[in-house]
Symmetry: C2
Subunit: 386 residues, 2 copies
């Protein structure tokens, strides 16, 4: 017998304020140089002082959102500001205005990559900080950064491409992240470019939807055709499920737009079928749309974040439709997630499980896992259920 | 009761000529454009026609070595030449002379990376083809390419670096691969630069050896210091074991050089201790030299190639020392490998197992697994036991 939604909501708030946020504030936040460390071992001890630029923005966003939406503890707002200050002081390449990917503890640049995710996460941190603090100048900064991002990705040759032009391709990641980035900034400041981006991204997303496989693919040709390679056939169900709730959020913003809701539910239903592991439970990492063996080494593992996306997406879908199947999936995912990812002995959750739900390695963070997906879910679910 | 070494040797020859090579000649070799496909499913069917440039060189090498060292079947020599012709026709960027990483079936370039591994594998293919065919011009080509490789990696700014200069680092991979590349070319053609490279690489390898951890690390500072990050602490036992037999081969070439033999045995003994999984058997992918959780997603998996390296290295060590512990480890690795990696229903071996030895995904090849490590072992072991 699953708990009521109100009980889940109360549990989530407690998990956020009594477990997850204290873990990162105590062990992650850097009192010396500012910003946040994420490479923390099971007990919170620092394993690597490399700072992820993504996570300066991500925790900058999360800490401000917790302050605004859950509980106005001053340390949350201060943590958000510390991450944003660290970004502005250390994470921007003065040569071209683009952000780095990883920097040292004191902010010297280690690596720059050919993507704009660092910039996207910085922008949502700034807009959320603006909402939380009331300081409008951060909304302006977020908007200005967003316009830079659009310039970076549309200026031919500005970012060195990973692949040569022989096989032109477009990617799901950047398409979907820009919906969320624009939506977050729009809460703090209005600008036509934000709505324009969301419209463009929704139109582009349709190119990734392949009804013949009942799948949203990660990479297609610019015309939306299948690229029939291992990479081109790859389905990342958790990623698609995340996109589904970005769209459900937008549909709700548009007064429950029926067409957009239907598009989101189609993506959610398709991706649930590919992603939910009937044998062991949980959302699996990757599938091949033709059922061939996936070549990513982690293809059959269970990572933390696809589970959190499935919790949020199914709650959105239940609220949009009243269909009990989504409520059932919400509980099914939540139950499996809580049973397998929580650490009985230390705070924060594991990130990396084998397919059968056993722990693959027990660290609580690295350059890709940190205070983002779990606290975002723990904030989002109570907010939706308020 | 393990088989005798002579029985193992006969089994290996049969496995090579009756299983592994026929699989790749029938399913991998491209009769239309030349060269070899490696993205083959469990039964040999083509999953992806992208061609790995590494594998044009790797199979070019293997097919010629099988011809020269195991059995002079004309189709082996023809396969080697087909791969080399494909490289020369399609895999070299005319702009700077560097090779691509992946190309289409008909040889249009898809991706170029900032490493010289494509070039190294091409060079060993050419030198082995020269030995097998008697055509000296391929040895000259190999030597010329080797000199290009040295120029590519020593010319500041020629290859865009992955990391910024904040934390200078050197890598085990390029250091060790150049020993093998130079040794293979030296069999076909003499040049002082080849011996010079081997001497340089051996001197550099010592910087990666950390007695305080009894480990050879993958990345250290140019002075050989530990970089105390997750990446800097990473041990790749299979990789180190491969280096150990490259050194044992060189020590034998130098008339059983005692100092070099001892260096190799030290690396082998250290890496065996980190790599052999006492709980489930097999050589594990990665360890952290301080015992912290490894952050590579495949850290506790069992890949095919570390097992094959351990078989070769322990045989070399047994022949160098007569110490029964190496013979025992040779059989222990061979028994576990044969029991878990062979496919009872189709030819070729699996590549990717979970830690417990169950199959993670059953494809026989991709851009990283193809006809190289397994046939190299199946050629090397009978050659050593002749």
């Amino acid at each position: 017998m699953s708990k009521s939604l109100q009980e889940v909501s109360a549990d989530y708030r407690r998990e956020l304020t009594d477990n997850i946020l204290p873990f990162w504030l105590a062990n992650g936040l850097d009192p010396v140089h500012g910003g946040v460390y994420t490479c923390l071992d099971r007990d919170g001890s620092l394993m690597d002082s490399t700072k992820s630029v993504w996570f300066q923005g991500r925790f900058g966003y999360i800490a401000a959102a917790a302050y605004r939406l859950i509980e106005s503890r001053p340390e949350y707002l201060a943590a958000s500001r510390s991450c944003i200050d660290f970004i502005e002081a250390h994470c921007i390449d003065p040569v071209d205005g683009r952000m780095y990917f990883e920097v040292t503890a004191d902010g010297r640049p280690l690596r720059k990559r050919r993507y704009v995710f660092s910039e996207c996460f910085a922008a949502i941190a700034m807009s959320e900080y603006s909402l939380a603090s009331g300081d409008k100048s951060y909304a302006e900064k977020a908007l200005s950064l967003f316009k830079d991002i659009r310039r970076f990705i549309s200026t031919e040759g500005f970012m060195p491409p990973k692949y040569l032009p022989t096989q032109p391709a477009i990617g799901h990641s950047i398409t979907m992240i820009l919906i969320n980035t624009a939506s977050r900034i729009r809460e703090a400041i209005a600008d036509p470019v934000l709505d324009q981006q969301i419209d463009e991204s929704i139109a582009t997303l349709k190119l990734f939807m392949h009804p013949e496989f009942e799948a949203l693919l990660e990479t297609v040709t610019p015309q939306g055709e299948l690229i029939d390679t291992c990479a081109g056939r790859t389905i990342n169900p958790g990623h698609c499920i995340e996109t589904a709730w970005f769209l459900l959020e937008e549909a709700r913003y548009r007064g429950n737009d029926p067409e957009l809701t239907q598009m989101a539910l189609t993506i959610l239903d398709w991706s649930w079928k590919w992603g939910w592991d009937e044998e062991f439970g949980g959302i699996i990492n990757f599938r091949d749309c033709k059922g061939l063996p996936c070549q990513d080494y982690a293809q059959d593992m269970k990572f933390w974040w696809p589970q959190t996306e499935a919790v949020i997406a199914n709650l959105y879908a239940y609220q949009a439709t009243g269909n009990e199947k989504y409520l059932q999936r919400f509980h099914q995912t939540n139950d499996w997630m809580l049973a397998h990812f929580r650490d009985p002995d230390y705070p924060e959750w594991y990130g990396y499980l084998h397919r059968d739900g056993t722990v693959a390695q027990p660290a609580k963070g690295n350059l890709f896992k940190g205070p983002f997906h779990i606290p975002r879910m723990l904030i989002k679910v109570p907010t939706l259920l308020k």
